[in-house]
Symmetry: D3
Subunit: 340 residues, 6 copies
């Protein structure tokens, strides 16, 4: 089974520990991006994974891509050119102080990609699953167009399509999001999102929902999942549930709904957070892994929730654990005894 993800890879510059940005003169660097995070996690789970993006043909662009080779992601489809690698600054939050992300991604090689640069027919040869996130269409009209072309070709070729809605208010308004996302959703087999994405990016809302602290009733989620399946014909709907007690402590679980009408909720993890950026992406990878392996929805959502729980405990956007490490958490009790 082969998965391809398509999106931007960026440089992340984060201050050390809990320092404020530029509080000292060192930044930790890593490469990341919604879809590349999914690719790396899937590859770490043992899935043959391809990543398609565009990066500048400089040592900066090449280093970004070499990093992926380290994780065995196939980068043979990467396009080189354009002006710059997008980047973002991260100041990690703690306790009552929220994490801050400052994007500097305008004019990046990826954001200025043109639709004629990808031959989707060729790209998709041999691919079984295609994944992207709502950050792509959020970037601009051209990238939105490329996503639509990709979906249309994938659909034709019988490739399963998953999309993590990933609504970012810094990138577009809810109105813009709804316009573009609704059009794309008709191609999507597996919908993935957080508690708020369905409302913000699709305008869907359960009657009594109250999303402060993620305290929505399970019935509300069932209602939203049904709407998504009814409106867009998705086969699965996966939703992350984050209860933010503080920037340091979150409760975390996931829901998976099958179009056959069943909804499962995973165990809930009380997490002491090391780095929560990329946790949604690690959840997507977990969902894809479970479904690719024909896990039933209980096992799939437990795998996805455990995978993303572990991501919260790791520095950087990437989920570096293997599927065995995820299974150990699924089957264990998360009590964190030393392994020796």
């Amino acid at each position: 089974m082969k998965v391809l993800t398509f999106g931007e890879i960026m440089l992340r510059l984060s201050s050390q520990g809990y320092k404020k940005l530029f509080q000292n003169d060192l930044m930790e660097t890593s490469f990341c991006g919604a879809e590349v995070n999914v690719a790396v996690s899937l590859s770490n789970f043992g899935i043959e994974t391809f990543f398609l993006t565009k990066v500048p043909d400089t040592s900066i662009g090449h280093e970004a891509i070499n990093t992926l080779k380290y994780f065995d992601v196939d980068t043979s489809k990467v396009i080189y050119g354009g002006d710059r690698l997008g980047l973002y600054y991260l100041e990690k939050g703690v306790s009552q102080r929220a994490s801050k992300v400052i994007y500097d991604r305008k004019g990046s090689s990826f954001a200025t990609m043109k639709s004629y640069e990808v031959n989707w027919d060729e790209v998709f040869t041999g691919i079984d699953w295609f994944h992207f996130s709502g950050i792509n269409p959020a970037l601009n009209v051209e990238i939105n167009e490329i996503c639509k072309m990709a979906c249309s070709v994938a659909k034709e070729k019988g490739i399963t399509i998953s999309c993590d809605v990933n609504y970012r208010s810094a990138l577009w308004t809810e109105m813009e999001a709804q316009r573009r996302m609704k059009a794309l959703m008709s191609y999507v087999d597996v919908y993935i999102g957080n508690e708020e994405d369905a409302e913000k990016a699709l305008g869907l809302k359960a009657k009594n929902s109250n999303i402060v602290n993620g305290q929505i009733e399970i019935d509300d989620y069932q209602e939203i999942c049904e709407m998504i399946v009814d409106l867009y014909g998705c086969k699965y709907v996966a939703i992350t549930l984050r209860e933010s007690i503080s920037a340091s402590i979150n409760n975390w679980s996931g829901i998976l709904y099958s179009s056959k009408g069943k909804l499962c909720r995973s165990r809930e993890y009380n997490i002491q957070i090391v780095d929560r950026v990329g946790s949604g992406d690690s959840f997507s990878a977990g969902v894809i892994y479970g479904l690719l392996n024909n896990y039933d929805i209980e096992d799939t959502i437990e795998f996805a929730a455990a995978a993303s729980c572990l991501k919260h405990t790791q520095e950087g956007d990437f989920n570096r654990v293997s599927s065995h490490e995820v299974m150990a958490l699924v089957e264990g009790n998360g009590s964190g005894r030393v392994i020796r």
Copy 2:
């Protein structure tokens, strides 16, 4: 509105992370001190702030002062001379292990300052608010005398005076503290202290108070506030309430009492601590900011509590957040969602 704070600026040497002092061969350095912490925080809130101190005329002294310029603190009144910059060693505590502070401040330029070195009349030109803490009189008789002169001139000029009692058993006994502090209190408009300061530095105690873990009843605080207003004619009494669950987790809130008879208690924050040194000072800055802006006492104490809550989440003595960031916490829920 212009604020002037007066006190010592010191070098802080702290071991990295949770290492014991000298466990490895690196120390993190920063500059700090009760009153300069207040000045930096107020300047970060957008208040025009001056800091008066004395530092050695060496690159060590100049670096300490340049650091303040970075925060837009006006340092034009600083006096250069004397032998050395005081310093302290900090070993950060965690869980059941308490933080340790070892002072090395004897003979510092500030501690050996003479009263004739300051022309308070000139210093206070155009100033609206004067702030100092009980660490000044604790240093020695001369500095105590300088504080009295400052208060007397400030009073004459109609400048509001705030004092953070800041009792430190390492610097003086309760008896000495009470002798000097009582004399100074008669000038003070805004009293600031923690749960224990009123007892230790002024000998004031509510009837049934039990300060272990800060579990004093609210009525007791009302009683103490009334005493302070009655005895010293203060217009406001502000008290921090810290419940130390461990060195890593504290509950934190504040009380503000107006001489008009009203007492308000802020929301309580459950804090995962990054660095608690300087949190009292950030509270003082919050109180001063609120009162300077004519906030009512509810808004003032909420601002001060939120400001000092955020200080706990930052490395170093300084509170680096803006007033907007404080307001975001006051108005939000402290759940620490990523800002992007």
Copy 3:
């Protein structure tokens, strides 16, 4: 009073902070080992302590030993020779992600030691207490033999013998462990172990015990303690009780049982963990310290539990606190107020 501990000293290589092994290109180094950890802690408590081991006669071996001199451990009995210093890689866990230990200790100078290399009669001259752990017999038949010789000579000389069972599934099976440990136990005056060690290394089990999360009833422990005393004639049985809420938060307490029939349980600490490796060893040192000083069993177990609580808050295997710092926790409330 003089204590001698005997065992391996290893190099520990741990990734920085919560990084995965090799996530960046820096490792933190320290020297450690079950018995040397006990020796360092006892020396820090002010006990005259000797450590016997074998290390290679290279700068690596000598650095390991010099480190002990820093802590005033007497290293005059150390044997130099052999091929290499054993080492282990440590990846510190957090939240639901468990710590990982990867041993690389085969063929070490210690593991290849021969029984004729130690003259126990000489070694034990003037010694009052001998301590070792179950890691020694776990290494191989020869080291097991050396331990037996040591015990036999110590017994003859009236030296008190303590043994921390310290069962490690990575080193031997339960069957092997039981065979060797039972033979050694007949020499032991003070048995030390965690909740599971009695079962794994001695085959002893209370009737209704359920060791998940350490939630064994106190009666079960009484039962196990009695068995140990009955079977092996131990004078004291000390057991650590760890409730792993996560890799970051543990509840921690200890039990001490006297052959005179009394069982005491210490206060329980809710610990935010910095580094839990070596905490069992710091408990052993606490038990030995209490008994050497003729503390009664209540005071001994409170001292041991507080000592090992503090170890959890320190980086590295060694417990760097003094007996005064331990007593401050025993007598205080662990609320972690700043000491200045």
Copy 4:
């Protein structure tokens, strides 16, 4: 005397020590830019200095500006707005391996500045000296236009104008450079450049010059200086002479020519380089400082050469030394004895 410099401030990201870019996961950060480097150095010499630029109104932009306050540069004229702070990646060279600079400055707030955003008449009020470099006109037509407007207003107001040609082949071709620079040169009072700039940016060449290793004869320089004075009416021509023995060792000196016909060459320094980026800018600051203080040309060029020699020994683009430290080198022998 007040100096204003105008140009871009950028973030510099450099790998640690002599690591290749991204060889590990840490980058050293600093803020810099040709004209801001000059401003910081002049301020460190005690000159009242203003810096005009445009940065984004984000914490990134504000941090860049706060850094300048630390050095007492007046930043009150800074414009906030636009999309991003330009940046560059630096890999420091050593021995035969050259340093590498990769620009990522397209679309920066400065580069997208519009001419109507600056009221030069206001900006220049009270200013005595205006400095900019050839990097400004290299950016684009609009910035070139802004420079021309600035020069024209400055000329009218009798402000001395200095320009460091600073030719960068990565930014424009020699043809483009010559077109724009020739037009600007007619305003310039003090020409500053390296050995090659006059040829590349102005098309001026001595008859027999051979620039490999900077081994041009002194007569050739005299010839070039005369041409510049004749063609553009400059009062002074300052040229840096760098003999690159390797990326680690350079010989460094400077030439200053007065329109009155005299040429002086400074002492030559054999430098073990710590960081050579910004050395040209520190030379410009030295020349400006000497001329502002009415030093004669011998003293001016010795000051400028010593100042920039010291810059080579410091990390970062900024020259952090005071004028006293420069004079100590001018008057001493550079033998580097410990000062205590």
Copy 5:
């Protein structure tokens, strides 16, 4: 063209900067080994390169191998199993203080490899060039045997064989070396060594050679090259010439001799050393690259000398430069001007 190298990959632990081993508590880690260094360098030059080794099937072993994927080295032939990854401690020398290497490689997965574990016929399918070094036969009889089998199969298949003699006195005596190396040399097409290797490992010596400071006359080298060609039938003999002025400064050049009777010496580089470990391996890679590309011997030796000159300027054993960067040095003057 496909190259395969065969040898051990080890963990290198080096103290930071010029610190002595264990002077602080941090070690820099990297993976390396004579033959893997060659593989990485060739891959960086754009050659399709395979590396065959055996590493433990633990996260330590896998990380070592993943590092190679980052450099595009094909690791599909790697064997997993055995006990441990060999390692060495490195203390970098400077000035008159020599670098120190302490091996801890006994019992490694590679050193305990058995001849039946490799099917050389399969391994060599499609391979054009086989490279190994004298460190392999130095390890033990079995590895020597495996090398012989490899050579014999390679010879049969018409694969070019290169061997870097790489004599290490810590691993074997000159007598042992000569016994094993002479047997292997009969298979070797391209002999590579330093000034002393021919004497130490093959017993060959020119009449008047004096190897102190590498000051052998060029005629002596011609003589030795001729001997090697005569005795063993090699087609090419490549020798590195290092003149150690100090641990920080070396003169470096190379000699290449063709069996057709021509000897070329490269330009000599005066190098300020960052890290000299692995420089011989980078020279081997340069020689192989030149010959694979049918460069004539002048161009080949210039390429190899420049490549290894650049290695000296990089941290770690690996030569991270591309063939373009090497060519830039070959064609340039090594003056280290900034590239921007």
Copy 6:
């Protein structure tokens, strides 16, 4: 043979690498002082060495002393008490930028020591050699007095006395120095100093000496040595000769003169400096070691020069090499070949 040194131990705070003081927020810490440097070096050479000082009875003071135990220095005679540990800030120079030392040692425990605190008779029991430096008498009258008492008791007991003049203009004037040093010199058996010390601290000058760059003729030194022997009855005069080419490169050698009339000069080392602080002390240790071992003066001065050459290549004040490492340099050529 037992040596005792007496002096101050201080904390050294140095900026990282070649950063200016406070350029970033990290300082490297180490403990040091003229006489403790000698003690550590002698202990590393295998001499039984005692160090007498006074440090505060805080964790700062105890850590300083524990560091010495690591090096096997006997610290049983150390006195605990007083206010503070003296310290100094170090900014390491490079190339033309000189190192800067800023003392903060006033009021230290050592500097405020009283003569009645030492019972020299007891202290000197079993001691064969006593060493101190001119920094002691420079501190104040009381310490000068203590030194005199020490010398007088030592003399009586037949203990050899060595003194490193160590003139520091930051501590006293030449006039003060000459007054106190001349009085002490009458006790001294082994005079140690640099090129300038004899003139500055004793007023002795050869007729035609020109000390810039240490370029004094050998005859001048002979003349000075003779004067010292004649005036003070010293048995040996040892002088270091430093030619400062820059802060990074020095030529270094030593002279030893015997009262029997012979003068030897060591080999001269051209050193690439890592850290030159403490090099004079390492020379003293080398001289003492040679004379204690009855080396002749040629061997002694070669040993001392080589020892102090190696000190220049190490971070921190301490010379960490063994006598074997020194001998390897004496007997080798300093070419810095890798040892493996």
